[in-house]
């Protein structure tokens, strides 16, 4: 290959690289065009996801041992394969909660923010799996949701929610924010707490 050809190829490569760099800068600028609104929306959706998960899932009460299925006096290993009967139904979520969670995930999927939901799911369920194993019936979960520290306590599966209101916020604004979330059950308990 002659020298001018190599020179021309190198020049083309240089220009292509410059063009790619320019495109990257333009892409980053385009992302910043919304003034960070998209990020804010994603964050709110992840918070809502986290809140629904905290509110509607509980640690499992595990049995001391699994009943062995016997097959002609011999325990059959095949019978231990995952079946719906062994899975505790209490862990599954009500349909309306699922609809909301799926709607959040679908929205985030389009904007590429699903990692937040996956992280939140992992964090919440890891804690609750640990609690299930330790069989701590009185357990306290602390979650930072928006500006409020939400403390959830379980006494043998009966949940109670307490919210610490930061000093710079008044009761009315907190109630309003939670009304906007429109989460059944939680809201009622919250209002009771605020009234008392």
């Amino acid at each position: 290959m002659s020298m001018p050809v190599i020179h021309s190829l190198a020049l083309t490569l240089y220009h292509s690289q410059k063009h790619i760099d320019g495109l990257k800068i333009a892409d980053e600028a385009a992302r910043g065009l919304d003034g960070g609104l998209q990020g804010l929306v994603q964050e709110k959706l992840v918070t809502e996801f986290k809140f629904l998960m905290v509110e509607h899932t509980l640690p499992l009460t595990l049995p001391d041992h699994v009943e062995k299925t016997t097959d002609g006096g011999r325990t059959s290993p095949g019978a231990s394969a995952l079946s719906d009967e062994k899975v505790q139904d209490v862990i599954l979520l009500p349909a309306w909660v699922l609809e909301r969670l799926h709607a959040i995930i679908e929205t985030l999927q389009h904007t590429g923010g699903c990692e937040g939901c996956l992280g939140a799911f992992g964090e919440i369920r890891s804690n609750q799996a640990f609690v299930s194993l330790q069989a701590r019936y009185h357990c306290i979960f602390l979650y930072q949701i928006h500006d409020f520290l939400v403390k959830r306590e379980n006494f043998n599966g009966i949940g109670e929610v307490q919210i610490s209101i930061p000093p710079h916020m008044n009761k009315a604004s907190v109630t309003e924010s939670f009304h906007l979330w429109t989460v059944a059950g939680f809201e009622t308990q919250l209002l009771k707490k605020l009234e008392s």
Binding site: L62, D64, H65, T75, G78, L101, F121, L133
Partner: protein, 153 residues
């Protein structure tokens, strides 16, 4: 479940434990690992599929494996510690109990932790089963040798 015994994970720590206590610990381990695999992690997987099932399967199974791996690894480490600890003849029946439990759990482990993300946990459970089998065979051989020696005396 009282899982305090899972703190003793190394073979050296296990060798220091009194045999009566160790027997109880192994008995508890056999019950607990079965409950954890067949009830807790099976249920957690159902929940993960229910909530995150709209996403790619690799994504939600990876998330579920992260949830389950901390507890599962502790159970496996305790089992490995027992199998690698001092090879005493009195451990034979307890090792056989462990083998039976693992034999019951392996099909569920393979189903619950299916996919690439669960590969490590599946392999580790299978390896533990092989290790327990190997240890049991060695103890049986030692006992066999001792019996033959006594017989020829």
């Amino acid at each position: 479940m009282k899982l305090n015994y899972l703190k003793n994970l190394s073979p050296e720590a296990i060798d220091r434990i009194d045999w009566d206590h160790l027997q109880i610990m192994i008995g508890l381990w056999c019950q607990h690992i079965e409950v954890a695999v067949k009830v807790l992690y099976a249920s957690e997987r159902q929940l993960a599929r229910q909530v995150l099932g709209h996403l790619d399967q690799d994504l939600w199974t990876e998330c579920f494996v992260k949830v389950a791996s901390t507890g599962m690894v502790q159970f496996l480490q305790f089992g490995e510690g027992i199998a690698r600890s001092h090879r005493a003849p009195e451990k034979l029946f307890k090792l056989l109990d462990m083998f039976e439990t693992l034999d019951q759990c392996v099909p569920t482990v393979n189903t619950v932790f299916e996919g690439d993300s669960g590969l490590e946990l599946r392999a580790r459970t299978r390896e533990l089963q092989k290790l327990v089998c190997n240890r049991t065979t060695l103890i049986q051989l030692v006992l066999c040798g001792q019996t033959c020696k006594y017989h020829h005396r």
